[in-house]
């Protein structure tokens, strides 16, 4: 412990790498990563709810396009999707002069679009699975009360499905946080981008990446903690009595 303490003081006092300047880079990176991940997850969830309902529809013209969408976005690497959105759009003639250029000029929005579409696809499948697995008894009970399909969806199926989807969705949030590391390839200075910068500047891969790994670990831990609390509250009715 003594030795570790000494090592740590040593690291803090005479290092050329973790100056106020580079820590500023890491801080900006943290803000960007959190913004990017939070926004894409939020929009992703909003998109995923109607898509998940549609995915379970009996009508083929609703079901099949949604299936194709989730298949494509879950079947290709996020890095490729990001490249296609960021570098691909400029091959549309005249996009630079259109109003869309405001969105596509900076790297943030193309990345947000790619991340949102990706997480929406996974979340759709998670929700769809949960909706499909709703206990028969709950549905029969709702029918016995004379609920319409709409009302049944709103009052019975969706609330129950979201609760059961929570653990799987928590994983998706963590995956998304880690997947966001690819944002740095399109010049976004996220956490990984900041680490790359420090690495390239000081030729110190170990210090640069171990530091950023610790930040990711802290973020992941907070997300896990949050979902643990949520699950405890919302899935209380599924726990064995007295536990």
């Amino acid at each position: 412990m003594e030795q570790l303490n000494g090592w740590f003081t040593d690291l803090l006092s005479n290092n050329a790498i973790f100056t106020a300047n580079t820590l500023g880079f890491y801080w900006d990176g943290l803000v960007t990563t959190v913004q990017l991940v939070f926004l894409s997850l939020l929009i992703g969830v909003i998109l995923a709810v109607p898509l998940a309902i549609g995915r379970g529809s009996k009508r083929r013209w609703i079901k099949l396009p949604i299936y194709a969408y989730t298949y494509v976005f879950r079947g290709t690497p996020l890095l490729i999707q990001l490249y296609l959105v960021y570098y691909g759009v400029v091959f549309f003639d005249g996009i630079q002069d259109s109003i869309f250029w405001v969105v596509f000029k900076e790297a943030f929005f193309p990345a947000l679009i790619a991340f949102t579409l990706n997480t929406a696809a996974y979340t759709t499948e998670i929700f769809h699975g949960a909706i499909k697995n709703t206990a028969k008894g709950e549905i029969e009970a709702a029918r016995a009360y004379g609920m319409s399909r709409k009302l049944m969806m709103r009052r019975i199926i969706l609330p129950s499905a979201f609760r059961r989807a929570l653990p799987a969705y928590g994983n998706e949030v963590i995956f998304m946080l880690h997947a966001s590391a690819v944002a740095s390839v399109v010049t976004i200075m996220d956490l990984t981008g900041a680490a790359y910068y420090v690495y390239a500047r000081f030729y110190a891969p170990f210090d640069a990446f171990i530091f950023v790994a610790l930040i990711y670990l802290c973020l992941t831990f907070s997300i896990m903690f949050l979902f643990r609390r949520l699950e405890k509250r919302l899935l209380a009715h599924l726990r064995p009595r007295g536990a």
Binding site: V90, K105, T187, Y196, Y197, A200
Partner: protein, 273 residues
């Protein structure tokens, strides 16, 4: 069994080769072998007849003639080029090797003989003055992450320009063409190939002069490398490099192969006896 034979053969070849080369060196002091990694256009290529040609071949032969040495060329892949020198497969490297502190621990460098410049490039219709820092505020510049050009832009323009760092130089060029970038700061030969900014009808143009200084960032340039103890040999080549620069032979050779300036004129101090 087969392995044993092969390794025995290799060992034999190495021993006899070394003995042979030592004998050669004793026989004639003036025979020098130069190691080079082929091809690296237009510095060195093998032509249709199987002979080596290119800027560095011409330059090397010229330097040898001036130093009164009889030179031959030895081909060597890049990863093994310093070990090959230390193992006496050849007596000097003349292969676009940039001077770095890491390499200086193993070999001794001559004076640098060339250095490729870096250039600012923007769209032809843009009116940007790179020397007026205040006017650059908010403009975006693309560089390849971790390169000397990234370091230069960060150090000199970090407070005014919005720096976008890319993984490869293709990505930089793509985003200059897409209009996401106002500027790029690029290695001259790469820019010359990828952007073609020097024709009159090109949509891009160079801003200001090509940049090779400060050497603390851009390096001193490419130089010949010798074994640490061969000081006399290195001195002969230093003198020859000074001569080709002094009488214009270098410029002639450069103009034959390049249409841009990659000279690094040695200072008078370096060339003093």
């Amino acid at each position: 069994m087969n392995k044993w034979i092969t390794s025995a053969l290799i060992a034999g070849a190495l021993v006899s080769g070394q003995a042979f080369s030592q004998a050669m060196a004793q026989e004639s002091q003036d025979a020098i072998r130069l190691g080079i990694d082929v091809p690296y256009e237009p510095f060195v290529v093998r032509n249709a007849d199987g002979d080596l040609e290119g800027f560095e071949i011409d330059l090397g032969n010229e330097l040898c003639a001036r130093a009164n040495l009889e030179c031959s060329w030895v081909e060597q892949g890049w990863d093994g080029i310093i070990p090959g020198l230390l193992a006496r497969k050849y007596d000097a490297i003349l292969s676009s090797m940039a001077i770095t502190p890491e390499r200086e621990r193993q070999v001794m460098f001559s004076l640098p003989y060339y250095n490729t410049p870096s250039v600012w490039i923007t769209a032809r219709d843009r009116d940007i003055d790179i020397s007026d820092k205040d006017s650059l505020k908010g403009l975006s510049v693309g560089v390849q992450r971790g390169t000397i050009r990234d370091v230069y832009v960060t150090q000199e323009y970090g407070d005014v320009l919005d720096i976008h760092r890319y993984g490869s130089s293709q990505d930089v060029v793509n985003d200059l063409k897409s209009g996401r970038l106002d500027l790029t700061f690029e290695d001259f030969p790469i820019a010359n190939d990828a952007i073609d900014f020097r024709k009159d009808d090109s949509p891009y143009k160079q801003l200001g002069d090509s940049i090779k200084t400060p050497t603390s960032i851009f390096g001193e340039g490419a130089a010949m490398a010798f074994r640490q103890r061969d000081k006399a040999l290195a001195a002969k080549f230093d003198k020859a490099i000074c001569e080709v620069y002094a009488d214009g032979t270098f410029d002639e050779l450069m103009e034959k192969y390049f249409d841009y300036d990659l000279s690094v004129r040695p200072s008078e101090q370096d060339c003093a006896e």
